[in-house]
Symmetry: C2
Subunit: 454 residues, 2 copies
């Protein structure tokens, strides 16, 4: 028996007998009666326990400290007039584990910064119970969405010699401390993956539809609210399909995940709406109920240029073809101009990755970013270059070493017809769905520069 079952059981009657184990959130004791608020992690909802001095250990119970674990035997008292629809009148309470007095989460409010220092205890708060329940459910929704659509889950390698974007900033994996890579475990320099996409493409040519969902890493020395050294990515890839298919897939996936969270995390979403982002539920309703707009990058530039003419102030106001859109531009387009999620397509090749398919105009690539109100870019995807010669030329033009990539380029020689996919930063999605403002608060044990606890 757990609290989630109890609070959601519509058939419970007064005097029904219950027995369960839970943790003490608060304890308020008078002379002859005391009130415990307890939680067992099965839901963020708490349950009030009333205990009276008829219990033989009343004196001990009245001193019971926060976070102690107890077993309660008692009877249901329905309280339909209160916010919590029932409470339990204890007939017996066994103290299973007493928490010590220095338990850091006493009743008062704590800052998110303080809670990060006790990442092993913060999931006991309602805020983090909500965030991590939603994270868990969203992860499952993603697996469910893809599996129901016939996708095969591929575990792309974590240790790799590739650096998908050519962007550097990889962590080195070694068993030595002297950089003598030929003598190292793998006999060469090894890194932590920054993306599983290239591996996923190989598998898409075998299974048609695949997705990865695993950790990725960036050794970027920046302390912002959006960057972590370790985060999870979802990277679907579909063979024989183009950018249009990819765009529909992204829209369907985002809506599916949000709908699933509305279905299974109602209380948690309401808690986040009240405590992390006012208007969160309205924002998510807008996303799941609207048709996502589609415009080209060139059209987006025009919209931004018009905005500048109409005296809208951007930090970067030199708007012209070739500009790598900033968050301010992305948010203007989806929040102010269209007021809903929007796909921008066909970006200049210069600001996108080497593997994206060159459009016939020779200037743009078949890429898309999904922008959503509140944060800007949520998903980035593209159709891949399927022509071996064009891909090789692009690598050469960009100075990309093709030695370790030869297997990837070779895929184009062995029957490769269209392939499209996207990357979704899982933490970015969870921040969006929970309203959490800092990536450190949606990762159980976050890793950032100079921060490696637990």
């Amino acid at each position: 028996m757990n609290i989630n079952q109890l609070v959601k059981d519509k058939k419970l009657k007064n005097d029904d007998i219950v027995s369960f184990t839970a943790r003490v959130r608060t304890n308020r004791a008078g002379k002859s009666v005391g009130f415990l608020v307890v939680n067992d992690g099965s839901t963020i909802l708490d349950l009030q326990i009333v205990y009276k001095d008829s219990l033989k250990n009343f004196a001990e119970l009245s001193q019971l400290r926060i976070s102690s674990v107890i077993n309660i035997n008692g009877k249901i008292l329905l309280t339909p007039e209160k916010e919590q629809k029932l409470e339990v009148q204890a007939s017996e309470i066994e103290i299973l584990s007493s928490a010590s007095l220095d338990y850091p989460l006493q009743k008062k409010e704590h800052s998110l910064e303080f809670l990060r220092e006790i990442s092993h205890l913060r999931p006991r708060t309602k805020t983090f119970q909500s965030i991590f329940k939603i994270r868990s459910s969203a992860a499952f929704a993603i697996h469910k969405f893809f599996q129901e659509d016939g996708f095969v889950y591929v575990n792309s390698p974590i240790i790799t010699e590739n650096d998908a974007e050519g962007a550097g900033e990889s962590f080195i994996v070694t068993t030595l401390d002297n950089g003598d890579y030929p003598k190292d475990f793998f006999g060469k320099k090894a890194c932590l993956t920054v993306s599983g996409q290239l591996n996923a493409e190989a598998y898409a040519q075998a299974f048609k539809k695949v997705y990865t969902f695993g950790p990725t890493f960036r050794a970027e020395n920046s302390n912002t609210s959006k960057h972590a050294a370790e985060f999870w990515m979802i990277e679907p890839e579909v063979a024989f399909e183009d950018l249009k298919y990819n765009i529909d897939l992204i829209e369907n996936m985002v809506k599916y995940v949000i709908n699933y969270i509305f279905e299974v995390c109602k209380e948690e979403l309401e808690f986040c709406d009240s405590n992390l982002e006012n208007g969160l539920i309205d924002k998510l309703n807008l996303v799941r109920n609207s048709n996502f707009e589609k415009i080209t990058y060139t059209e987006a530039i025009k919209i931004l240029q018009d905005a500048v003419k109409n005296n809208h102030e951007f930090e970067e106001s030199d708007i012209k073809f070739g500009l790598d859109l900033g968050t301010e531009h992305e948010r203007f387009i989806c929040e102010k101009h269209f007021k809903r999620p929007i796909f921008i397509t066909d970006y200049p090749k210069e600001i996108k990755a080497f593997y994206m398919k060159l459009n016939p105009d020779d200037k743009t690539v078949a890429a898309t970013d999904l922008l959503v109100p509140g944060i800007g870019e949520l998903v980035g995807g593209s159709q891949r270059e399927d022509d071996f010669d064009k891909l090789s030329k692009r690598c050469k033009d960009l100075g990309i070493d093709t030695d370790s990539l030869s297997w990837y380029n070779d895929l184009r020689k062995y029957g490769y017809y269209k392939s499209a996919g996207f990357g979704l930063g899982f933490e970015r999605l969870i921040m969006y769905i929970t309203g959490a403002g800092n990536i450190r608060d949606v990762i159980p044990f976050p890793r950032t520069p100079k921060n490696l606890l637990f």
Copy 2:
């Protein structure tokens, strides 16, 4: 439209019009008629395409090479007398991408060793389509099992300063090549995780039921068929529950996953039974239909001693309390003696990890291993030591540095009542379900000593 839908559609009639994209497995052309066998990855089942010289590109088609990608328009011809119940008579075939002549997977059989060298292409074979479809479905079954039972999925950290077992052999994560860890990214020495259990325990005290499912790493320099440097682990943890609950959970999970594979991967299992392990399906049926036996370690020692008396030969035949059972002993117990899966419980504390709960006899711990016919140990679990003083003493006795573990031991001070969990090596499970004999064949891009390709 994909091949999986076509071959499973019971309503298809002769002359129904179909259109789909697929890859050529074989091409056999006569003077006026040719036969293509094609696959699109949606199933391991192939489809035969008949093309005649009435097609304008017949000459080109008759030269079409293996692995080329084509689009087929044609009509269904039902062939109920053949193994494959239908074929397609092509009215038009468009060649979308021609494979080059040096495509390594020509029609002849290839060794698994050779196929490992082309990990980017081997998923196009039926063997690896079967293995990796089963891997994907088993991963989903695991998520489904735990989510349906109210477990919260926790992403334990990949980069860590902890070494859960104290067993060493961790990979170092660095941005330097000189071992100057105070100046490194995290300001101290960082490793790749060998287990997420300690972190999961912290979350179990908050959510009651949690599980991890992520990559783990061992820098063990051994080239065996069972060891990889990178593999995935599932580590559930449940608060307020004991070893008995844990044992039931393991049995339920193993049966659930196998049942799910029988449900959704029928063709793939049959292929594995015929090509990887004869009797595979019978073996799995035994597991899913039997009640798992339970004996203590002490009883197991007695059984092995009796076997030695009866002249059974073990490589290690000095059987006595304290022996760390080898695979030969485990397999004897479950295959010869009980002929079904078996849990062994209550191992000597000396051969188990520091965090396992000491039994009242002061000699054994509340640990269990699940042994299954065919491989021996599949799962290992335990109830955790919940007494702060006993845990601290155990760390001290074993010389474990408790500085970086203080947060873990401290959990016992802040209300900690029973916690039990287990670890399942995902690849070990996939080897067991598919009959694959080498761990390198159940990991898309395996990582082993001196081997870092793709």
